[in-house]
Symmetry: C2
Subunit: 495 residues, 2 copies
């Protein structure tokens, strides 16, 4: 008889670009999300949770295409006899769903609508080191208000949020700019909207952080040699034409009044530029009234995020402390949140322009920052482990565990094969257990249990002299009825 | 010139079978998940969060098919030049990903591995009223332990969890059964594994809740007329053959010992049946040792969930209080959680059988139950709203809001167009605001603000006589520097 061919076993692997999160990775993120939600809620924002799946039509931007329907997003077509089903996709951010929700429910929502949302989003991109295709976002937006008070409020809230999750004042800065000021600068240069040179100028401005003032000046005019020796063509402006851009990028002064004066010079008599400066001034006043000084929030013209997307104020939260990079070099931790004003997302659905402004916090980056600063540790204490010396007495061990749990102590009984006691201690070690409880036949007869302080044991094993070892045994016997009291004593001592 | 045709506007709609959750719907679910996670963690379970996306290969069960790749799941193929990319899918539960995680990381995990997971899962099913294609699951499983202590622990934990989220003792019951007992019954009937009649018997057992003892007896033998008058064919057993099934289904006695004795009679000399009864006995002893009596957890042979899936103990949590259904009839609320032992999920990947047992809580049903019982209310108080009487004085209003927030009071400034004051009060109403704060030019000059108690105002508007109205005004003037103190006083009073 021919041997039947078995189906090959499936591979036990996450899809490329996805990962699993374990234990403290999950609970610390959850705690951070809850802390952030607490501040958002305190500011009057309401929770919103939409599904991970939207119609491609509602998401916009990425439209299905016969050859490659899922460019940038994960998309698929609903089954339908006539092959005519809707295209669905996983959301790639929380803003596009907000626009859909607002358009769909606008008759029932309070307007202006302040909402926060947190959850995973998906990007169909090539994964890279530390770059995943599913990650968390944590957003707050105000839809339906054109007031600068909405933008100022979000900046203040961002500052409060960072402090609430454990970033100390002085370790961060919320930096505010305005897209209209930049548009004013371009106008002052004689570059109208639609002028091809304009895009080139914007792209060059984006490189300011990397190449500095002199580099930008070269790139705006004749071009420059980059670090690799390649020649980068310039935009071809004259030195005079390039001047307003340089003035704009270097306009940050010792205080807000000085910065605003420099910006006024940079935009010349551009109307939109003046409007942008007036908006920045207003935001500054509102923040000052709320007690948010330049130690927390400042005007900084070098913030130029999301060039195409934002229409007014833009803001960014940066962590200002230094960390060591992979190669041991010091660098600033950098941006952990950003946002700004966008006015035409809802218009796609309703035809009416609806002003909106909002912020998105990069939760995973913020967690990484707190780990860097030692504010949270990845190692977390595990449960007390009650070992099993005699598997026919499982009920006794279960009773101990129940007592410990009822006393508020995290505890568990060993559930593996109890034959090899060494394996039970190895298990306790892998669980980061602070204490193991042991009750064999002898102990049972004497009415006692053994308590093994695993933290102290580990310390002694590492450092102690023989005398210390003898003087401070890490394992001792206690009467059975003192189990809970003594375990608590040790846990408190381990603090 | 021909008019340019505009692209039609996208529809602002969730895809069919998906919905949005607002405000308290979101925060109450989050709180419940946190309460559940707290109990799971206390029992020594560790958090695990896997991605929403898995390879179809790893999920198993649903394999891609050229005609309809996404039967039951949402699935799509990864892009690849040769059209050879992996098939990916949204997870349909949290157990299949657990099996994949365990197989992938088994060398690094503590074994037995106790883990909990909570999050959305997706089903590509026809949506119906109250049936969505994305919903939450909240699972705890122990992988790698064959001990009945693992099953007993999960039943105890389920009981603690229900009490932790607000279901009082007496309002729920965790019912335990064992698939092996049922297999023993079938063996006693002379129906071997693979016998076609066996499946028919199983399907009939599942109808016990609906048709009762007499109905099951009819269905096992000659058949019966159902309520609509249609004749349902019977399985064709003789009355004697049907007896063990009836004995099994009606074996519940006044106490566990009685039930077990009845079950022993039902399984006759079936070895697997005896094994199942011994397991039930063991679970009962372990639970008793932990203090979990039949007021919380009981053996109940009528629990027959997931006939194909489970291999040993099965358990279910039922809410025992009555609610009124759509038509005003009383009925029991029913099941909110269930689970059991399953032993071959990991084997698919590794070839080795790995024993596992676990539970899944239906979070949305549990929330619905708490709302039914009035333990949580959908209406939640909104923020204090500071109104805008003079939009040039926004900084003053912002300062008030900052003061309130710094004092721990949830507050916001009105961010809409302030022209029409009535709209501001309507907004406050829609926000469920307890208090509105008003400061016009007169108040500003006098150094006072108006505080409007919106809760009292609504009560007065409903009930009060003219005298009461005069005696207890819902709006009054307070000195500006007493704003925070007076607002707090009113909020405490509204409590």
């Amino acid at each position: 008889m021919a041997k039947q061919k078995k189906a090959p076993r499936p591979k036990a692997q996450t899809p490329k670009g996805f990962r699993d999160y374990f234990g403290a990775e999950v609970t610390q993120r959850t705690e951070m999300l809850q802390a952030i939600a607490g501040v958002y809620h305190h500011y009057g924002f309401e929770a919103l949770e939409s599904a991970g799946v939207e119609t491609v039509e509602a998401l916009g931007k990425f439209l299905p295409d016969v050859d490659r329907p899922n460019e940038g997003v994960f998309a698929w077509q609903e089954f339908d006899e006539k092959n005519n089903g809707d295209w669905l996709a996983l959301r790639y951010d929380l803003t596009a769903p907000l626009a859909r929700v607002y358009a769909q429910h606008r008759n029932d929502l309070p307007i202006p609508y302040r909402r926060y949302a947190m959850g995973p989003v998906w990007r169909n991109e090539k994964p890279g080191p530390g770059r995943y295709r599913q990650f968390y976002q944590c957003d707050a937006d105000t839809v339906g208000s054109a007031s600068m008070a909405a933008d100022a409020e979000i900046c203040a809230m961002l500052s409060d949020t960072l402090e609430a999750v454990g970033i100390a004042r002085g370790d961060y800065l919320v930096r505010v700019n305005n897209r209209k000021v930049l548009n004013g600068v371009l106008e002052a240069m004689g570059l109208a909207e639609g002028d091809g040179a304009r895009d080139n100028v914007l792209r060059t401005i984006d490189k300011f952080d990397k190449v500095g003032e002199a580099g930008v000046r070269q790139l705006l005019t004749k071009g420059r040699l980059d670090a690799s020796g390649a020649y980068i063509d310039g935009v071809g402006l004259s030195d005079e034409q390039a001047e307003p851009v340089i003035a704009f990028l270097t306009s940050k002064a010792a205080d807000a009044a000085g910065t605003l004066a420099n910006l006024r010079a940079a935009v010349g008599d551009s109307k939109v530029g003046a409007e942008g400066i007036a908006e920045l001034e207003q935001i500054g006043e509102l923040l000052a009234a709320g007690g948010y000084g330049p130690d927390r929030i400042e005007i900084d013209p070098s913030v130029v995020r999301g060039l195409g997307y934002y229409t007014g104020p833009v803001y960014e939260a940066e962590l200002t402390f230094e960390i060591l990079d992979d190669k041991g070099r010091k660098r600033q931790f950098g941006s952990v949140a950003g946002g700004g004003r966008y006015d035409d997302l809802v218009k796609r659905f309703t035809g009416q322009e609806v002003p909106a402004t909002g912020v998105s916090i990069g939760v995973d980056r913020l967690l990484a920052a707190l780990r860097e600063k030692g504010r949270i540790t990845a190692e977390v204490s595990g449960p007390v482990v009650v070992t099993v010396m005699d598997k026919t007495r499982m009920a006794d061990y279960q009773a101990m565990v129940a007592e410990l749990r009822n006393a508020g102590i995290r505890a568990e009984v060993y559930l593996g094969n109890p034959k090899n006691f060494g394996n039970q201690l190895k298990y306790a070690d892998k669980r980061n257990s602070p204490i193991a409880v042991i009750e064999g036949g002898d102990e049972k007869d004497k009415g006692v249990v053994q308590i093994k302080d695993l933290i102290l044991g580990a310390k002694i094993a590492e450092n102690a002299t023989l005398e210390e070892w003898k003087a401070r045994p890490s394992q001792f016997e206690v009467p059975r009825d003192q189990l809970v009291a003594r375990v608590r004593e040790i846990l408190d001592g381990q603090g």
